[in-house]
């Protein structure tokens, strides 16, 4: 087991390094660099100035040199400076990570809270009207474009009814009031959770159906066990196995942020930061947030595998 974890971790690190180079390469192919932006804003710059600035920023070096310098800094704990905000990356990233964490976690919890009971209900009432209605609801969740749902919620609840603020993260008068943030969270949370509710319901339903098909369920019913006991003790416990994987894998998204939803609601999370930094050529910020979400995905898929083997003794990892 420990050997397995060790090798998986090693593999994960290799993949992260490879992907970081891939992302670095991609971002380097983006048009424009900070010096070009400076040239545009200051026509008096001489070619010597441009050359000097390029050297200062290290833009004249080859991609390999730049990449090894960057990864060296990262290993030393220096995440670099944001070109747009002119502060260390960690200084802007940390509050954003916090905001995203609150939003994604509440959306995840809300969607699980809705999806698991509905999924179980659909599985128990399979091929009835209830099942079809829940199916429609979940297909709607899978098929709704997130930005459109966001826009509609803004129109209805933000603009027409004025129940909740249409966008933003906190009120400008008192940003430190944590309770005051709740109204700002409602609409983005609803949007985000409806998107995942569909997947969760379908997943719960199919794993519950799978569990109900087992022979021991028939045996349990045949020997006269009460229905609730069969459902919760025999079926649900086995359906829980695949649910664990699903929930764990969903946790990996808690820090990577929801680019589109956050952009629509102008919510100051990582997703919006990534979007802004890519468009604004803010190289270091984009790279660090990329790496965070990649690492989260890989780490949580490892955790999911481990949890799965813990929960089901039949599965041996090797």
């Amino acid at each position: 087991m420990l050997r397995y974890i060790f090798f998986r971790l090693l593999q994960t690190v290799v993949v992260i390094v490879a992907l970081s180079f891939f992302c670095y390469l991609l971002l380097n192919l983006m048009p424009g660099d900070p010096v070009e932006i400076l040239i545009q804003s200051n026509p008096k710059m001489t070619p010597e100035d441009i050359q000097r600035l390029r050297e200062l920023y290290g833009l004249d070096r080859s991609i390999w040199e730049k990449y090894s310098a960057w990864i060296g800094d990262i290993l030393k704990g220096d995440l670099g400076y944001s070109r747009t905000y002119r502060v260390p990356v960690s200084e802007i990233l940390l509050p954003r990570l916090g905001n995203t964490f609150i939003l994604s976690l509440s959306a995840l919890l809300l969607s699980l809270f809705i999806a698991i009971p509905l999924g179980i209900l659909a599985a128990l009432r399979v091929n009835t009207k209830v099942d079809y209605l829940i199916g429609l609801f979940s297909f709607g969740g899978i098929s709704t474009p997130s930005f459109w749902l966001g826009l509609m919620l803004i129109i209805i609840f933000g603009v027409q009814l004025k129940w909740f603020p249409a966008s933003g993260t906190y009120s400008i008068e008192n940003p430190d009031n944590w309770l005051g943030r709740i109204p700002y969270l409602v609409l983005p949370t609803l949007t985000l959770s409806y998107l995942s509710v569909g997947r969760f319901i379908r997943f719960t339903r199919s794993s519950m159906l799978e569990a109900l098909k087992n022979d021991y369920i028939r045996t349990a019913i045949a020997k006269g066990l009460p229905r609730t006991k069969v459902i919760w003790k025999h079926a649900f416990r086995n359906a829980l196995l695949s649910l664990i994987t699903m929930v764990t894998l969903s946790f990996s998204g808690v820090f990577s942020g929801a680019t589109i939803t956050e952009t629509v609601f102008a919510y100051q999370g990582v997703g919006k930061l990534v979007y802004d930094s890519i468009l604004g050529n803010d190289f270091n910020v984009a790279m660090v947030s990329f790496m965070i979400s990649v690492s989260m995905v890989l780490l949580f898929s490892l955790i999911a595998d481990l949890l799965y083997s813990l929960a089901d003794p039949r599965i041996r990892l090797h």
């Binding site: 993949v15 983006m30 079809y132 899978i142 749902l149 589109i260 629509v264 990329f290």
Partner: protein, 381 residues
């Protein structure tokens, strides 16, 4: 009774009501997309005709083109029908020598008046000339907008119809080509195994762990001029669409590859493959003749679900302003333009989104129905 496999599947699929409805919806939209230019001809409304004075008109409204746009129409007419234009100029002069003092450029003077006065002058012309002017000029000046106009005064209904073409076209192309790539990579990895499998699957898993949306944003913001191979794609008005298709294909073949690999892995050990091998069949033959037909079923489901997903990604990228570029309409970029004025013209944002939702949900139901129909356990014989 002996039935072919696909016949059985079709019979099964027909039982799934939602899938049948979905199929109907999807086919309708495909027909609309295919016939978009003909529909535009039929209504004589162009999706690109701008009207700066009549922006954000409500549904069911009629607008008239301003002079600047009318002049363009007349100039176009004079270019395509020089002979008749000269003719009509003369006729207008003899019709009303006070208004049309010379025999030249009378068409331009004619369109300067109000629409009713124009019609009155038109009545004075012989029927053949009336007919000639009707389609290219008269009926284009006063137009009826079923769903109102957008931020440049263009007809929303026509743009939605042409948007169907772009959105569905992109999604179908992406889903089909990414499945082909997935099929190729998955079957190579599954059939040969060993180091090839290892490398291909590591690449697949790595791509799967990338945060999709940010990566798509980065790649769409790239200028293709920096990559010499892709330069040939970066020309003409199709640039943004071709670029979008390439990007989406590049990042959506992975699930199909994994699916096909798993299927091929289990097929590889079957007796009929062994039999083919002992009889001396080449790998290529075995893959084409024995492996592919067996992975068709899961592949079909993957393609169907992939179309729905691609529509969403196209819309999302176009919504961020990185996908299909103006003036070409797509459902996503119509939403992008609508979001600035959602309070004044909420309908502009509502309809494209509803269309995306309808089509995606239809594809998902078809996929669901297919999955059930293709499952051998559900066959009733």
């Amino acid at each position: 009774m002996v039935q072919s496999y696909w016949r059985v599947v079709w019979e099964e699929l027909k039982e799934h009501r939602a899938a049948v409805i979905g199929l109907g919806v999807v086919l309708t939209f495909i027909v609309i997309g295919l016939f978009a230019p003909i529909i535009s001809q039929l209504f004589n409304i162009s999706p690109y005709q701008q009207n700066p004075l009549q922006r954000y008109q409500p549904p069911w409204s009629t607008t008239e083109l301003p002079l600047s746009e009318r002049v363009l129409l007349v100039e176009q007419f004079m270019e395509t029908h020089p002979e008749e234009a000269r003719n009509i100029n003369g006729m207008l002069h003899s019709l009303d020598p006070v208004k049309y003092q010379t025999t030249e450029e009378n068409l331009l003077r004619w369109i300067e008046q109000s629409y009713d006065e124009m019609l009155k002058d038109l009545q004075g012309l012989p029927p053949k000339q009336q007919e000639l002017l009707q389609r290219p000029i008269v009926s284009r000046i006063k137009t009826f907008h079923l769903l109102g106009t957008d931020e440049l005064g263009r007809d929303v209904f026509m743009r939605l119809i042409f948007g169907t073409r772009v959105s569905l076209g992109v999604a179908l192309l992406v889903a089909i080509s990414s499945s082909l790539i997935g099929l190729l990579i998955g079957s190579l990895a599954g059939y040969y195994g060993g180091w090839l499998d290892h490398i291909l699957m590591r690449i697949t898993d790595s791509l799967l762990s990338l945060p999709l949306m940010p990566v798509l944003i980065v790649v769409s913001a790239l200028s293709f001029e920096k990559l010499p191979i892709l330069q040939m794609f970066s020309q003409g008005n199709w640039e943004s669409i071709i670029k979008l298709i390439l990007i989406l294909v590049l990042f959506s073949w992975m699930t199909v590859a994994k699916l096909v690999r798993a299927e091929v892995l289990s097929l590889r050990e079957r007796d009929f493959i062994l039999a083919a091998k002992t009889m001396g069949a080449r790998d290529f033959f075995i893959i084409m003749r024995h492996v592919f037909p067996n992975v068709m079923a899961p592949l079909l489901v993957a393609v169907t679900l992939g179309v729905g997903e691609s529509i969403q990604f196209e819309a999302a990228l176009s919504f961020l302003g990185l996908g299909v570029q103006q003036p070409t309409p797509s459902w996503g970029n119509m939403l992008f333009n609508a979001q600035e004025f959602i309070t004044e013209a909420p309908l502009l944002a509502l309809i494209p989104g509803l269309l995306i939702l309808t089509v995606t949900i239809s594809f998902n139901y078809i996929g669901d129905g297919l999955q059930e129909a293709l499952n051998p356990k559900s066959f009733k014989r």
